[in-house]
Subunit: 330 residues, 2 copies
């Protein structure tokens, strides 16, 4: 992102305080302000680094693909040795706005999250030690870490910290709905405006609010009627151990929802109209008319923001000290 862009967005988001102050439950999402571009660049390299996986084939971007809304657009992800993941991959876009990370909130922030998949045998299938050995083996990485962390050593905390710093820049500002909130009444269609009114009137905003239109709380999936799924995930219960937390998940962001299909933690629903109907039914006990659903979807589609413009990083070559990938070793 160029400097001018950052500044102009910063101005817009200052202006937007007025709009947000008008008591709208959804807030304008400001563009990322990059204060440490060297750390962001290092984090970008690591985000696209397939050598953080055992196979040398899977990077963060494999399942959180910035080309496709920050997700892999699969019901559940493909991991090491083509293992089927247990849950739908959440988008990395605007993820910093979540009160915690993962569907069950078991990681307190992006840095803690980033450590998970690297060492998960079903995802990247590596170990933190080997990931560190890999990065540490390359002089180009050594120089960047020395520069960013003022340290001769490299550890997993620095690796995940840098990845998180990059991920914090993956914000999608200036969605038509943001322009609308800023006062441009022609930025969204009348249908979308009606959808937003419905979104508030029906109670969707009680969970989907804030700058990310979600991510601010946990809620039971199937609040008034059970959600039928074959997916065994139990949500917060796995973290807290409490029976009351069974099927309680982090409320997902609805920003860029047009891009982040298939929907729900089990990735079972591909169609946004169907997802809206299901939510109205099982969370709110409401039945929406066909035109109401279309209005709601028009509103949701107005939440697609400017996607990150990422120059693909060029990664340094491996050498004799770099652990070799083991794609077929098991």
């Amino acid at each position: 992102m160029n400097k001018l862009n950052v500044i102009s967005i910063a101005l817009l988001s200052t202006l937007s305080i007025g709009a947000n102050a008008s008591n709208e439950p959804i807030e304008i999402i400001p563009a990322a302000v990059i204060t440490n571009p060297e750390k962001v660049e290092l984090g970008k390299m690591l985000f696209f680094e397939p050598r953080l996986s055992k196979s040398g084939f899977i990077s963060c971007n494999s399942c959180h693909n910035i080309s496709t809304g920050g997700v892999d657009a699969l019901p559940t992800s493909i991991g090491h040795n083509w293992q089927q993941g247990p849950i739908n991959s959440p988008t990395v876009l605007n993820a910093e706005y979540g009160l915690a990370q993962f569907w069950d909130g078991r990681a307190k922030d992006l840095k803690e999250q980033a450590a998970g998949p690297i060492a998960n045998p079903k995802e990247m299938g590596f170990t933190h030690d080997l990931a560190v050995d890999t990065v540490r083996s390359m002089p180009a990485y050594q120089a960047r870490f020395a520069d960013v962390y003022n340290s001769k050593d490299i550890n997993i905390d620095m690796i995940t910290d840098a990845i998180a710093e990059f991920e914090k820049t993956l914000v999608t500002p200036n969605a038509p709905f943001d322009l609308y909130l800023q006062g441009d009444k022609s930025a969204i269609s009348d249908q979308a405006k009606a959808g937003y009114q419905l979104f508030k009137d029906k109670g969707c905003v009680s969970c989907h609010n804030g700058p990310a239109v979600g991510g601010t709380m946990y809620m039971k999936m199937g609040l008034v009627k059970p959600f039928h799924t074959n997916n065994p995930a139990e949500g917060r219960k796995g973290v807290t151990g409490k029976e009351a937390d069974k099927f309680v998940f982090k409320v997902p962001t609805l920003r860029n929802i047009e891009l982040t299909y298939p929907y729900f933690h089990d990735g079972s629903v591909w169609d946004l109209e169907e997802a809206v109907n299901t939510m109205a039914d099982i969370q709110l006990g409401q039945k929406l008319s066909e035109s109401e659903v279309k209005e709601m979807v028009a509103f949701l589609n107005s939440l697609t923001g400017e996607q990150p413009q990422i120059v693909l990083p060029i990664l340094p070559p491996s050498n004799k000290n770099t652990p070799r990938p083991e794609p077929f070793a098991d």
Copy 2:
């Protein structure tokens, strides 16, 4: 690539005619000149398009990763359902300079090559019909194809033509060795200069010549001594049916060889010194001293050029008409 860059490189390559005219067997590689940026942009989208695979997970870039020298840096690639590929993935960088494509030259050009992996059950595992249905389903692609091909329809020929047009831009100019050929005698070390002299004197240039330092001919792997490998690939024999073509492969480019490990068609050798020794031994019947090998490697490392600066494309969302990915279907 910005226009100024293209022009300045074009000027350089005009100047370079003088250098090439000095009878050096290796020629300066000019930067790509983009004449149809819309087609290149469309091709870039398709190159990064995981929905050209059955799983929705594998794109051209998966095995020809522009972040890592245009290869996956694995002995053989990972395909659909984690199948092990039969041969080392050749680099997409400067691939246009090959007299044909694939190790055995079975595709006459990049366009014909691009059609292969999409429908190969061991690679992307899709069909051309489904690939076309996928692309055709999305209005954003329809508009781009209409614009580029002046056609309301989309077919596999257009898809592979656009991919090839993008791949033709993946050239890596201005390697230190190119600057040296242009007259900057300090662009490479004395060790590299000695290595280049050896490269010519020992006969390496008889196969590795031209702008890509290879790709201009077919040659038997194991010309004077047999190459020992468990890889069953028979090279040109599979194309021509002739016994004389057994183990005859396209001579690979040595541009960016520092990045395109592991080496040889079986990807069996990770270390460039070892690869040089093996080539000298089995192709030329020569034994190089330790210092000669180091000189040769210093020369080869001077062939690493400017890597492509690619802004990651943002892909349009699927819709009800888009065939759904089937990562775990079979």
